[in-house]
Amino acid sequence: MLAEQRTVQAALTVPAVNPNRRRALTPWFFLLPGIVVLLAVGIYPVIYALWASFHKVDLAMLAAGTPFNGGQNYILAFFNSLFTGAVERSLVFLAISMPLELGIGVLLALYLHGTLFPKLLGVVRVILVIPMAMTPVVVGLIGTLVFNNQFGLVNYIIGVAGVPPVDWLGNSLMAFVATLALQIWQWTPFVTLILVASLSTVPPEIEEATVLETDSWLKRLQYVQLPYLLPGITAALIFQTAWIVKLFDMVYTLTGGGPGVSTELVSIYIERNAFRAFDIGTAAAQSVILLILTIMLSNLYIRYFYREAEA
């Protein structure tokens, strides 16, 4: 499905591969090592999580046993306003950060794909890796200094421009904005790099042809490059969705989920549930619900974006 769509030229000019010549088992030889290792490492934890989600597992009261309690953990999760609130918050976070990261990411990828000043582009390409390379815990801590009301750099800078100081971390809305800002700063390079790799899959002959046809980079983007970018965009969407669901370290050190619950994203809530309230059963059920949600979202991305490629 993927290969045929994009190498249109190849499909038209070269006879199709005789399927019988390639043994049906070939792909499995290449797949096996990866599958075996991931299964070996990953299957038990998932089974444990599933098991815990159907039992009452309280770490501090294990002496009382871990009785089976059916789907109770799941049902209660849907009525738990702290949990549903956290999920909502994470989805809003995603809905705002993702378009921004994609928009800026596409522009940056195009920029890096240019032909002028290859040395400068090379340097920029490497420098873009650096925000991603910063340890999230450290990023959160730098955030507490930089966004601090009294001695934060951000308030100092906007103060120089005449803007009154903003209560970044003590105000519900601004804390959310500060968290978004750090996330976008750190992870737009991730999207950019994926798209850079995607852009490199556009056959140069096609690119050269379109450069001759039109001067507008926007038209080039829309009609020629976009189909090649879609798989990368989908990958970025899926990875970032999973990342935001898992996002913990940076937010934890920046705001701890506060003020109040304004930046309590879903992983922060589940961690509290699991290791402060010690309620592993509920936390497991919530994690499974989120896994299903992430899978559903990913399927949506694939259906929506990959289908565009076929149009």
Partner: protein
């Protein structure tokens, strides 16, 4: 000539803008790492000052950062190497072969990346305990495969699927076996994707905190982020030390990225291979 010069200016300006935005917080962190704690908090900010390397000395010599960095390096390189060995062939299979479960396998790989680590800590811990692998980097490298391999598989599948079918044909006509096709033709062409995947895999395992804190907690085996986090007594934060630790943690990844980044450009030669 004039048009070219005009086109050149925005390229340079944008480039500089990107560099400033990307690097400013990092610069700020490194500047803070050589200031005294008092100077770090000073408003207006102190731009010119006498640097002190006491934080670096303290962090490396007294607080175990040196060995922590080495552990992180070992775990990071091992994770990336293993993930590439496991993931590139898988990406190849998914990207170039049509077989019955292809779509589901493709999706299964990424689903490994989606599970929230918080809840998985307990079973991983129990596995490690049973296998006597607590405080062993081996367990960490294995656990990290669950997010490194999906990355590699996805990024390389994309690259592999864009290689023209004509190349397989030509090679098979010449009598090349599957292995030869894979190693001599496909892998070199997928290098940009592999490079990106390697960098990302290295970064993720380098900065990973949750599993590292639980699976290799002892002062002798811990990785760099865990050591940095331990500076947070929760009470008094040693800002200078923390910034020094943060700067030390970032540097090796930057070096790795620089070394690998040359391969990011290879894709431009794709069309030349016929």
């Amino acid at each position: 000539m004039n048009a070219r010069a005009v086109a050149a200016v925005p390229v340079v300006v944008i480039g500089l803008l990107i560099i400033i935005v990307a690097l400013f917080p990092v610069y700020w962190m490194m500047a803070a790492s050589v200031k005294t704690d008092n100077q770090i908090f000073a408003i207006p900010p102190v731009w010119v000052f006498q640097p002190t390397f006491e934080h670096y000395r303290h962090v490396l010599a007294d607080l175990g950062m040196a060995s922590a960095l080495l552990h992180s390096l070992g775990v990071g390189l091992a994770t990336t190497a293993l993930a590439i060995v496991l993931g590139v062939p898988a990406g190849y299979a998914i990207g170039r072969f049509r077989f019955k479960w292809r779509r589901d396998v493709w999706f299964w790989f990424i689903s490994n990346y989606m599970m929230i680590p918080v809840i998985l800590i307990i079973p991983y811990f129990l596995i490690a305990r049973t296998l006597h692998l607590i405080n062993s980097p081996v367990m960490l490298v294995l656990a990290y495969q669950t997010f490194a391999v999906p990355l590699v598989v996805w990024l390389t599948a994309d690259q592999f699927s864009s290689v023209p079918k004509a190349l397989d044909e030509a090679a098979m006509i010449d009598g090349a076996g599957e292995a030869t096709i894979f190693f001599r033709i496909m892998v070199p062409l997928a290098v940009p994707g592999i490079a990106v995947a390697a960098i990302l895999s290295m970064i993720f395992s380098w900065n990973e905190l949750l599993y590292a804190m639980i699976l290799t907690p002892s002062d002798e085996t811990r990785t760099a982020p865990v050591t940095a986090l331990s500076f947070l007594g929760g009470y008094a934060i040693p800002w200078g030390d923390l910034m020094a630790a943060g700067s030390l943690i970032v540097l090796p990844v930057i070096v790795f990225a620089v070394l690998v980044s040359r391969y990011l450009v290879r894709g431009l030669t794709l069309g030349a291979v016929k």
